[in-house]
Symmetry: C2
Subunit: 483 residues, 2 copies
């Protein structure tokens, strides 16, 4: 049965096309109709998000055979069947995404010119900025260049199959356009100092060149941390979708909402949390720059969410399409872009809690302390149809003292399961150091789709914690002077 | 012997590296040293051109084995040996080219900021503009986006092997960023009307949306016209190199030369040609905009020439590396970019005379009037080691009246050689409709490298004619009001 499921592409619900098509078209047309809404480009971004979803939904299966013919295909390692599945289809998603972002340009930048001359500026505090700063076009374009380079490099990685410890620094190359334009535009390189350190460093500290190092490391982290939390159907794309959704919710907090000055925040955190800033008209009350930054972020995140959801439909268990590295590269770079250009990289990193945990856990294998097999995905047992933790074995080389220490600490924390040598008492085997194996250890063997659901739930919980830390606890270390 | 030649990569002259490396470094450093030269960014562009040459020279052979491993390889159809040759290595050239153009950004745009505030504007007519307009950064970035998209699409074409009649419109997609930003920046859409038509249309005519159609057709033409004049070692890259060189020479005419006000034009046309504009300080005398446009063009063309020359060393007969469609896409798009952004598309097309001839000649095969085999390259005879014209055969379908007419006209012009059916007297075979076959018909069978030399000589002659038409004859149809 599973065999047949994988052979046939998932049915595409026609009703969705007929409902969402006109809805998306309406969102694209609305900014052009008088009276022009408060944030016209945001309407367009929603429209493009809908079309991104539809395009991914329809193009991914349509191009599958072409990918298989070009030898971009793989066998699903955690299945009983051998049907070739098209690989690297993140390329389709990335192409849709970038093309839509390009088509979006006139909405955000051309409109601004017209409005600029026609209407007087709204000086009203905290209310609508219905123009997008024209000089931001260069920043927008440099972001697109970085995204396109990430796509290109991701696809080259898929084609040339670069070894994975070699490819860790690749995203730095893709971030060059971003950094160069940031430099040419004389972007701010200072950061707000946390309250407890202000007596030493002052309120603002200029990191100078270090800021560029920080930015390129951020793109490397965003890209690779998703790439190493992979291997089961739907894992990469669902992480990207949850992170994109979290960023969108966070951005919405900073918009100048039109309906009155008192709005309930669309935020599902336990009540009693002290949300910083001015409550009435979003978190950006009065700051035009903050509104612009979060609009910029929304323009990138809305279509990304659309494309991820569309792809997830085909990547869900049992997967009809694989993302390849391309998807991780382009989504990771998109997150880095909005974090850098929107100046909220610390908040961004809070949405990566599961990835940070997985990265720290993986370090002993990434840096060669513990043997690292080519695939660290959980082991599939065809008998039970369940996934079990996979293992890495110490063969020729015995574990070093540092490796033993790390593994024993992890074992005490119940993050790994060790197998000891009967004679020497040394560590002979360990479960692979990934969050997926931790789930299987903690919750027991489970089906592949259940494991993906656990991952998604973890990611959602991580985002809830992030919102709590950002708006509940940040008041302890930062005052209202947010950047 | 030929076999051994192809097996071993061409030797890389060390002396070149040790001479050109420091020279390039000096050109990159010069703009940073006081006193700053007149056109600092132009120094940097020359430096980047030198490094582009060196990078292509060294990286193309270094990455050859990687390409072969990734199955990006091909057999040389016009040789006796079967050695696999790395294919699509235009990707290496394109990557070097685009990366250098990105690294160039601070020279052209950041410098401008500093100079802008420090020095008073030089109002002296026709002399140095040592600042680059800052708003041009968006235009520059959109050009880079188009180049990167062309590279991406060219590589996808190589990987997915898109059928060649289907891929004709692909460059239109790559030109979208260019057009969108041109639109958002409210670029001029009017053209100067030739003198004989002014009574009807006025001096300037606004083409409006048609101008965008024209621009996208221009990129399609530049890309595909090089792509269909291909198939022998060195053909694509030598065309690109000669066209780039011609554009560079044309750009140099418009620079405000520093040495005095009377300069001999670096132009090798027969004397007595009436060169338009003011002779003394370049063709742009007094017009800052013209200088800026041609500087912009030089920034793109100098590194392109470097990368082409470096690649040509390995692509020359017998070829150690093939360009793939990627090279044609990126070079064609680069020409379209400078033609559009520099507003000299008519002059640009004059440099494409051999390509225009080849395109017109190819039309009956492109549009299906005459059968079109998969490869139209000349036929190689292993006995004589010479190339002969290749033929297309009318098999099932007899030639239509239109096809017969076209072929008989071409035959009368001695552009094709027809074979008639003995019984019916109808056309049974024709030589393929390419300029390469025309050369072989006119000059007789020749070695592959001789044919490439004939092609290069034709391209050079075409450029000489172009300069004569542009500066000698254009006065008849245009006045000094050039755009």
């Amino acid at each position: 049965m599973a065999h047949n499921q994988a052979l046939h592409p998932r049915p595409l619900p026609r009703a969705l096309l007929y409902t969402l098509g006109p809805t998306g078209a309406w969102f694209l047309a609305r900014p052009l109709i008088e009276p022009v809404p408060a944030l016209p480009a945001l309407y367009a971004a929603v429209g493009f998000a809908i079309f991104a979803f539809l395009a991914a939904l329809y193009l991914v299966p349509a191009l599958g055979p072409t990918f298989i013919r070009a030898n971009l295909k793989g066998r699903d390692l955690l299945k009983t069947y051998d049907t070739p599945i098209p690989e690297s289809q993140g390329l389709v998603c990335a192409s849709i995404y970038i093309l839509l972002l390009i088509l979006f340009i006139p909405y955000a930048f051309s409109e601004s010119i017209t409005n600029h001359h026609d209407t007087p500026k709204h000086a009203r505090e905290g209310i609508v900025v219905n123009e997008f700063p024209h000089h931001q076009l260069a920043v927008y374009l440099s972001s697109l260049l970085s995204l396109l380079m990430a796509t290109m490099l991701g696809f080259l990685d898929d084609v040339f199959d670069i070894r994975w410890r070699h490819k860790l620094p690749i995203p730095i190359i893709a971030s060059i356009p971003l950094l160069i334009v940031y430099y040419s535009e004389r972007g701010a390189t200072d950061v707000v100092v946390p309250l407890p350190l202000r007596w030493l460093l002052g309120t603002l500290i200029n990191l100078g060149p270090l800021y560029y190092v920080y930015m390129s490391l951020l793109s490397t982290f965003c890209t690779n941390s998703i790439n190493i939390l992979a291997g089961i159907n739907g894992s990469e794309v669902s992480q990207a979708a949850v992170i994109a959704l979290s960023i969108i919710l966070n951005d919405l907090l900073f918009l100048p909402w039109a309906f009155g000055f008192r709005i309930p925040l669309p935020l599902h955190v336990t009540d009693g949390v002290r949300v910083g800033g001015v409550w009435s008209a979003g978190m950006a009350y009065g700051s035009k720059i903050l509104v612009e930054r979060h609009l910029f972020s929304l323009y990138f995140m809305l279509p990304l969410l659309g494309v991820c959801l569309g792809f997830m439909y085909h990547n869900w268990y049992p997967a009809r399409a694989f993302p390849g590295d391309t998807l991780c590269y382009v989504t990771g770079m998109a997150f880095a872009v909005v974090g850098i250009q929107g100046h909220y990289s610390k908040t961004l990193l809070l949405f990566f809690l599961p990835q940070i945990f997985n990265f720290l856990l993986s370090c002993p294998q990434l840096f060669g302390l513990v043997p690292c097999p080519r695939h660290r995905v959980p082991r599939f047992d065809p008998e039970t149809q369940l996934l079990y933790p996979s293992r890495a074995e110490f063969k020729e080389k015995r574990p070093s003292a540092l490796a033993s220490l790390a593994l024993r600490v992890f074992s005490a924390l119940r993050l790994v399961e060790l197998t000891l040598d009967d004679r020497t008492g040394e560590i002979a085997q360990t479960t692979n150091l990934t969050i997926l194996n931790v789930f299987l250890l903690r919750f027991g063997p489970m089906r592949e789709d259940s494991l993906t659901r656990v991952l998604i739930a973890t990611q959602v919980c991580g985002s809830l914690v992030a919102f709590f830390v950002r708006y509940g606890l940040a008041g302890l270390v930062y005052d209202g002077n947010r950047r």
